[in-house]
């Protein structure tokens, strides 16, 4: 917690503050890339208004925010609407600070672990190990990547509720690294009831806290279910009705709103015959949740934080209503794996992919919606390429991790019959 950290936080806040006063802010708040039916600021306003007027917000098809958030923010929205941008900026800065604290702790844990295993490491692997400088570098990179990534900045000035989700996720990561079970469980339960997909993060949580004992694992899982129920009941008492379950979780699971976004659902469900809908809904939701959960959990059982990072990233790609704010969050976690970067071969390609597809999205959206000359296929092409880029990144990270683990114990230069060795996955 040095002065540089505070300077960065201030600078990040200043950047957000500057942009939220430009005409860019209302424009971003209406862009489908940032504001989805789930997180849009307008819908939040509508929900709070309905709640204040004593009407159940979930009877209509507009509001999908959880009742607790709505009632918690209603005072702010009604009385001090002019301070809302500041509020969102403060939330975002809190997220950055949590991520910083989390990465400090994480690097320290890694270094401790390294000290224990050092004897087993191969000789020429100093650059793969966490060095003394990393304690400063990695947290700083994380916070810079969060505060100054255009994706999170835009998401914040558009006042999407992704800012709130990111804060909860950052808190989850922080508790996970610090080893605080109860807050971790509670925040995860809250996020799960709010936006469903974070349920997969139970896997890294179990890996961290069960410490290889099945009984503890079962107990924690039971505790998680109980806390989910508690959150749901707390939500129930806001409105005295269970409508919110269908309005939030049901809305996500059944994918009722076909508004275009950067994800893969909307185009597919627009094109599909209605009687296949149930089957594909289940397939797509399985893909977004449990399909990768089990194999990744087995493979990464020793690296729960990497598992959590990858799961958050996969969530951002495959969820029903993804927004660029989600992408910005997991991109900020990548510096934690700085020691794997040496093996990440596609970093530049992915960056180019992101740059080209994001700039094309703007142009194609204009051509489709305003000029009326292009059509949905053009825009979907761009979002598909964007998702492909993200998959490249995630795969690359996983593979780099595997390579690093291997090289750490076996050395970097392995020659078999005078030729460079190749790793074969079996």
């Amino acid at each position: 917690m040095d002065s540089k950290f505070f300077k960065l936080l201030l600078l990040g806040g200043a950047v957000r503050f500057y942009f939220c006063r430009t005409p860019l802010a209302p424009m971003i708040g209406n862009r489908v890339e940032f504001a989805t039916p789930l997180n849009s600021h307008k819908r939040m306003q509508e929900g709070i208004f309905l709640l204040q007027s004593g009407i159940d917000p979930y009877l209509g098809d507009l509001v999908h925010e959880s009742p607790l958030i709505l009632s918690a923010l209603s005072g702010l929205f009604q009385k001090y609407p002019q301070f809302l941008p500041i509020f969102y900026i403060i939330l975002d800065i809190c997220t950055a600070a949590l991520l910083y604290a989390m990465s400090l702790r994480f690097v320290k844990q890694k270094q401790d672990q390294q000290d224990k295993e050092r004897k087993e490491y191969a000789k020429d692997t100093e650059e793969l190990q966490f060095g003394p400088l990393d304690k400063l570098d990695i947290p700083e990179l994380v916070i810079v990547a969060y505060l100054f990534s255009p994706l999170t900045v835009m998401s914040c000035i558009g006042m999407t509720s992704t800012v709130i989700s990111n804060l909860f996720l950052a808190f989850f990561f922080y508790c996970l690294v610090k080893g605080m079970l109860i807050p971790c469980l509670l925040v995860l339960a809250f996020e799960t009831v709010r936006s469903f997909y974070p349920i997969v993060l139970i896997a890294p949580l179990l890996l961290v806290f069960s410490r290889n004992s099945v009984r503890r694992g079962v107990a924690i899982a039971a505790l998680f279910i109980v806390s989910c129920l508690i959150v749901a009941v707390a939500n129930y008492f806001v409105l005295n009705s269970w409508n919110f379950l269908d309005g939030t979780l049901g809305f996500i699971f059944y994918f009722r709103d076909l508004q275009p976004n950067i994800g893969l659902f909307w185009y597919f469900f627009t094109e599909m015959f209605e009687h296949f809908r149930t089957m594909f809904l289940i397939t797509f939701q399985l893909n977004a949740t449990v399909l990768y959960l089990v194999p990744l959990s087995i493979k990464l059982r020793k690296e729960p934080l990497l598992l959590a990072t990858v799961l958050v990233a996969l969530m951002a790609v495959f969820r029903a209503y993804p927004s660029l704010g989600d992408v910005g969050f997991y991109l900020a976690l990548l510096p934690l794996w700085k020691r794997c970067w040496k093996f990440m071969a596609h970093g530049f390609v992915v960056f180019t992919f992101f740059l080209v597809t994001l700039s094309m999205m703007g142009a194609l959206w204009h051509l489709w919606i305003y000029a009326g000359s292009a059509n949905a296929n053009f825009y979907f092409g761009a979002t598909l390429a964007f998702s492909t880029g993200q998959i490249f990144l995630i795969t690359d990270l996983l593979f780099a991790h595997v390579k690093r683990e291997f090289c750490l114990f076996n050395g970097q230069k392995i020659l078999i019959d005078g030729e460079e060795a190749r790793i074969v996955l079996k």
Binding site: T352, M360, G372, S373, A374, K403, Q412, I423
Partner: protein
């Protein structure tokens, strides 16, 4: 699977290294492939015959009912109008037009608008459009079709097209008697060329919007009556009732085109009525038959792309495209000689009236907006087109050069200090030190991301200022014409860009990083411009990609002549220079008899005017050309210029390099700022 999970442990790939050594060759091959593909598009194997995709149009299904009495009415109206024109030399005979519309039973309204011209102290112009609505008997005014005719006053410098008003009125009179209209018909007479049309469209669509009066240059006012959502529009420019051929104009604002179905519809119906019609149709005697098929097609393509690339509409129809209304202009040209008349003069306009009726009835059949056929196409001849899927590969191949070079430059970026020095060509001097350093472990070298980012932001800021500065209040109050003002601001800012690399020198490794960033931004910009306006993107790419491929920041293996050629080429590629050269070529083409100095001078004033028009077009009509040139091409040029200079922080070692660039560009910059 190898793509995602490369099994080798080291990240250095042999393929990349091999390619990196031949970047230029590979890129030039791609460039040639792209250009060759573009040439091939003119071959009949690469384009397709047009067809009508929207069944609802069913052109020519009904028998035309308009008769010779409509023609007689048109002739009579034309005579009346000619008398009116004698009294209204520089204004529109609003009263006469409104009276005629009322007489034919149209719901007639006038629309007033004001233009607050910002330059030269500020002036106000007032204008008035007249429109009459024929309410559809079969629907509750939810959809409409516009038939528009621009009116030019007798004192106008443009060709006289006053015959379009009588023709339009004659058709209105005919249409009012029919009961089959399912869409409201709006008959609109605008004045002051595109300005009147723009004002009318703005008033139609956002007439009740509150305007920010300090920024609104065109105050469109509001309309007293509307006719639902406009589905299509037909703009008519007729020089005389006795016509020779019809030129169908389609290019709209920012290179947008109407749906290909609409063009095909007009072509079909014109053919049925026996009118020679087509895209860029020339008079009969000028049509050349000596050219080969390929050459004709290729010329047609080039002329179409050239007129699209400026983004300026070729007629009033182009402004409709902005509001998602498909529209085109049928420009009927006067018959040159009266001796070859076939029919009686009393029925000369009947085919054209029949054609308008046919088009109107087909449009009347539309069940939804045009959506079936292509919006992105290039017309190679009147019945053949190239679709987006066929022409895009040409642009993609050109842009791929930038991305490929960016990737290869990135993968060979210096990773350690030693490599960096080698790249900068310092190794010879520092050989001993380098040997000393070899014993130590190679120290990791951090690329100067921060300073490169700041440099990029600075260049973008210059581009942004080009947009904002000429419209600032304190500049506008200077009693100076629009052209000198815009030009002086632009040349001042590009002079700053020109000086920037001499003043700011990037830290070691910065140039290489800037190069990569430049290539990425350049590629993205071209792709986006190409999507929005293919013609502009393609021409920009064809012009600049060779230079971008040739750019090199490494010192070691480059001859100084090559470097200086690249520097010179970069200077010529300055957006302002390019505009000047284009204007010069056009002036030379128009006035070949003038002496060279006079042509250059005339081109200079014309280029200044062009930049001012670009600015005015962008603020009044929403043309993007000025924005694109200032905000994208100028910053890119500044970066390109920085890279071609390749100034390094420690340049005391090669002062001889330092001399050459500062002497050679001087005369060039003078030309630029004149």
């Amino acid at each position: 699977m190898g793509l995602l999970s490369d099994p080798s442990i080291s990240t250095q790939s042999k393929l990349v290294d091999g390619l990196a050594r031949h970047v230029r060759k590979v890129c030039y091959a791609l460039y040639v492939a792209g250009v060759a593909w573009f040439f091939c598009l003119a071959l009949p194997e690469f384009n397709h015959g047009t067809y009508l995709s929207e069944n609802a149009l069913s052109p020519g299904l009904v028998y035309p009912e308009i008769r010779i009495d409509a023609n007689r009415l048109a002739i009579q109206l034309l005579e009346e109008l000619q008398r009116e024109r004698k009294d209204h030399l520089s204004t529109t005979p609003h009263a006469w037009i409104a009276a005629k519309m009322n007489e034919f039973g149209l719901e007639t309204h006038t629309h007033n608008y004001t233009l607050r011209y910002p330059f030269g102290g500020g002036k106000e112009y007032h204008g008035k459009n007249i429109y009459g609505i024929l309410r559809a008997p079969r629907i509750a005014s939810t959809e409409g079709i516009v038939f528009a005719a621009p009116y030019r006053a007798a004192s106008s410098v443009h060709t006289d097209i006053s015959a379009s008003v009588p023709l339009l009125l004659a058709f209105a009179d005919f249409a009012r008697r029919k009961n089959y209209w399912a869409k409201d018909l709006i008959f609109l007479i605008t004045e002051q060329e595109q300005l009147g049309m723009q004002a009318w469209l703005e008033a139609y669509h956002d007439g009740d919007r509150e305007l920010d009066l300090s920024k609104a240059y065109l105050r469109p006012g509001n309309l007293p009556a509307r006719a639902g959502s406009l589905q299509a529009a037909l703009n008519i420019e007729v020089q005389d009732l006795e016509i020779d051929h019809v030129d169908v104009r389609i290019e709209g604002l920012n290179g947008k085109l109407p749906n290909l179905d609409m063009f095909n519809l007009v072509q079909r119906i014109m053919a049925r009525e026996g009118i020679a019609s087509g895209y860029k149709q020339a008079p009969r005697k000028k049509r050349r038959h000596s050219q080969s098929h390929f050459e004709q097609n290729f010329r047609q393509m080039l002329t179409m792309l050239a007129s699209q690339s400026s983004g300026v509409p070729t007629g009033n129809h182009g402004l409709f495209h902005r509001y998602r209304i498909d529209a085109l202009t049928i420009a009927a040209n006067r018959r040159a000689t009266h001796a070859t008349l076939k029919g009686s003069p009393g029925s000369a306009a009947v085919p054209l009236l029949k054609a308008i009726e046919g088009i109107a009835r087909s449009l009347n059949n539309l069940l939804e907006r045009f959506h079936q056929s292509f919006f992105f196409y290039v017309i190679v001849s009147n019945d053949r087109y190239i679709s987006i899927g066929d022409y895009m590969p040409a642009l993609v191949a050109l842009v791929a050069c930038a991305f490929l070079k960016a990737y290869l430059t990135w993968s060979t970026l210096p990773a350690t200090n030693a490599e960096l020095e080698k790249a900068a060509g310092w190794l010879r001097e520092h050989e001993q030190e380098a040997e000393l350093e070899e014993n130590l472990e190679p120290d990791k070298f951090e690329l100067p991301y921060g300073s490169v980012l700041i440099y990029l932001t600075a260049t973008l800021l210059i581009g942004f200022l080009c947009n904002v500065l000429p419209l600032q209040q304190y500049f506008l109050e200077i009693p100076m014409g629009a052209a000198p003002l815009t030009t002086s601001v632009l040349s001042f800012l590009s002079l700053i860009g020109f000086v920037l690399p001499f003043v700011v020198v990037l830290p070691p490794g910065g140039l290489e990083l800037l190069h990569v960033a430049f290539l990425l931004i350049y590629g993205c910009a071209l792709i986006v411009i190409g999507l929005l306006n293919f013609a502009l993107g393609l021409f920009a790419a064809v012009l600049t990609v060779p230079l971008v491929i040739a750019l090199e920041t490494k010192e070691e293996n480059s001859r100084s002549t090559l470097r200086n050629t690249i520097r010179l080429a970069t200077l010529v590629m300055n957006p302002m220079m390019v505009v000047y050269v284009i204007v010069l070529a056009m002036t030379f083409y128009q006035f070949p008899e003038l002496p060279v100095q006079k042509i250059m001078l005339r081109a200079a004033t014309a280029a200044m005017d062009a930049s001012a028009y670009g600015l005015i077009d962008s603020v009044i009509y929403g043309n993007w050309l000025y924005f694109v040139i200032c905000t994208i091409f100028l910053p890119l040029w500044i970066i390109c210029w920085t890279l071609s200079l390749s100034k390094r922080r420690d340049y005391a070692d090669y002062l001889d390099f330092d001399e050459s660039p500062s002497t050679s560009p001087q005369p060039q910059s003078k030309v630029k700022t004149n």
